[in-house]
Symmetry: C2
Subunit: 250 residues, 2 copies
DNA sequence: ACCTGAACACCGTTCAAGT
DNA sequence: ACCTGAACACCGTTCAAGT
C-alpha cells in the first residue's frame, strides 16, 4: 500500500522489493514448509492428502513428511509410528459420519442411512477402507459412533447381545464394500474394466465343468454397486430382525 | 557302507571322508538350495512357510527367495511380481476347503460347515486372511468353490440373484472374521491381551458421556470368537432366507 | 520441546549378463 | 530356458545432535 517511489524519496527510484540475504530464510520454507508448527492434526491432514493423491501403497512416512516440508524423523515426535498414524487417519474419517438424533420409530431407516453415510465417507478418502481392515480404530470419533449406535438400538428395544454384536457385522460389511469400491475405481487404476475382464473370462470357461457358474455369470455381474450394497444391507437387517426375535423367545 | 580302512588298503589308514575340492559345489547348495528346479508351486509353498513363521508384514520377495536359497530376481521368471504371488497363495489356501457333494435337503447346514471350514483354512495360514481383503483370487480353486456354491443354491431352489450375491457376502464375512482371529492371536503378537485392554479402556470412559457404551461393554466383549462367528453366520443365513422370500414374491 | 541429518536394515523390481 | 549380481529408487525407524 505504501508507495515508496514518491518524488521526495531520495536516491534513485527503486520499485523492486529489496531482496533479503539468502541466509535469512532457510532453504525450504517458502512453499513447502507451512509456518504452522507441525501438529498431530496437520500430519493426519497431510496423510489424507497423500492418500487421496497417490493411494495407500504410496502412503509412507517419508511422503507425509515431504508433504509438510519436513524431515521424516520429525513425525515421530508427534506420532508413535505408521501404525499409529493410520489409526488416527481412520478415526478422522469416521468423524465425518453424521450421527443424527436417534429416532426409535424409524431405527431401521436410520441404520440404513448410517451405512450409506459411512460408505460415502470412505469413498471420499480412497485407501482408508483397506487400511481399516483388521484395525480397531479406538479413537474418540469411533467411540462416539459406537455410543450412537448402541443407544439407538437400546431405544428401539433390541435385545442387548444381538445389538452389541450387530455393530461389528455392519462395520465389517460397509468397510468391505467400500474396499471393493476403491478397487473398482482407483486403487488398481482400471475403472470398470475389471468387471468386463471377469465376465469375458467366465465366458471362456468350459460349461461342462462349470455348469452353474457359466449359467449364473450374468447374475454374478448384474446390478450396480449401489444395488448390491443395498441388497446386502437389507439382508443383514432382516437377519438382525430374525436374531432379535430368536433372542426374545429364549 | 564301503570300508576303506581295510587291511589291504595301501598307504596310511584314513578314516576321514575325503574332502571334495571346493569348486565342485557352489557356495550355497548344501542345506539352502533344494535341488528341485524352482517351480511356481515351490515358490508358493515357500511363501506359505514364511507367512506362517513371520507373518504377512515379513513376507517379502527377498525372504521367499532366501527360503529357497535363491536370488530374489529368480522369482520373477516364474511369477510376475508380489501381487501375483499373493493371488497364487490365496488360491492355494482356498484349495484346502472341502467341497462335499451338494445335498439340497440340508443346504443350510452345508453352507454353515463350508463357512467353518473356510475359517479353519485361513487359521492354518496366518496372514492370508488379510491378504485376501480387496483381492479377487480368480484362480482354479476359487472357481471350483464358486461353482460348488452356486450349484448347491441352485439345487436348493434359491432364486438366482440372491444366491449369486450371497456368495460374496459370505466370503466377506468369513474372511473378515478370520482376519480378526489373526489379529487376536499372532499378527500383533499379543494373544488375548487386546480384549482385556479394550475392556479396561471402556471402563475408564465417563458414563455420562457414553451411557449406552459403558452399559453395554460386557455384551460387546462377551462370547468366545466361535460364538460370535456362529452368531453372524446364523444372522446372514436368516437374512438370505428373508431376501429369497422377498424375491420369490415379486 | 521440537526438529534435523545421517544411518541402519530393509524393500520390489529391472536388467545386462551368465550358463 | 532359467538363474544371477548389481543396481535403482525406495521403505520405517532410531539416534545423536542441534536449537
Amino acid at each position: 500500500m505504501q508507495r515508496t517511489d514518491s518524488p521526495e524519496t531520495p536516491g534513485p527510484p527503486n520499485r523492486e522489493p529489496i531482496p533479503e540475504p539468502p541466509w535469512w530464510s532457510s532453504p525450504r520454507d517458502a512453499a513447502e514448509r507451512s509456518r504452522t508448527p507441525l501438529t498431530r492434526d496437520a500430519i493426519v491432514e497431510a496423510a489424507l492428502a497423500v492418500l487421496g493423491r497417490e493411494g495407500l501403497d504410496a502412503l509412507s512416512m517419508r511422503q507425509v513428511a515431504a508433504e509438510l516440508g519436513v524431515g521424516a524423523a520429525s513425525l515421530y515426535w508427534h506420532v508413535s509410528g505408521k501404525e499409529h498414524l493410520l489409526t488416527l487417519v481412520l478415526d478422522r474419517v469416521i468423524g465425518e459420519i453424521p450421527r443424527p438424533e436417534p429416532d426409535p420409530t424409524r431405527w431401521q431407516e436410520q441404520i440404513r442411512q448410517f451405512a450409506r453415510d459411512t460408505r460415502t465417507a470412505f469413498q471420499r478418502y480412497r485407501g482408508v477402507a483397506r487400511a481399516s481392515m483388521g484395525r480397531v480404530p479406538v479413537g474418540p470419533n469411533f467411540l462416539l459412533v459406537v455410543e450412537w449406535q448402541l443407544s439407538l438400538f437400546e431405544q428401539a428395544g433390541l435385545p442387548k447381545r444381538p445389538a452389541a454384536w450387530f455393530g461389528d457385522l455392519l462395520a465389517l460389511y460397509v468397510a468391505a464394500h467400500a474396499l471393493e469400491d476403491d478397487v473398482r475405481a482407483g486403487e488398481t487404476d482400471d475403472p470398470g474394466e475389471i468387471a468386463a475382464m471377469l465376465e469375458s473370462y467366465f465366458a471362456t470357461l468350459p460349461p461342462e465343468r462349470f455348469p452353474a457358474l457359466t449359467a449364473s455369470a450374468p447374475n454374478l455381474m448384474a446390478g450396480s454397486p449401489d444395488d448390491r450394497f443395498e441388497f446386502g444391507l437389507e439382508l443383514i437387517l432382516r437377519g438382525l430382525e430374525a436374531m432379535a426375535e430368536r433372542e426374545r423367545a429364549t
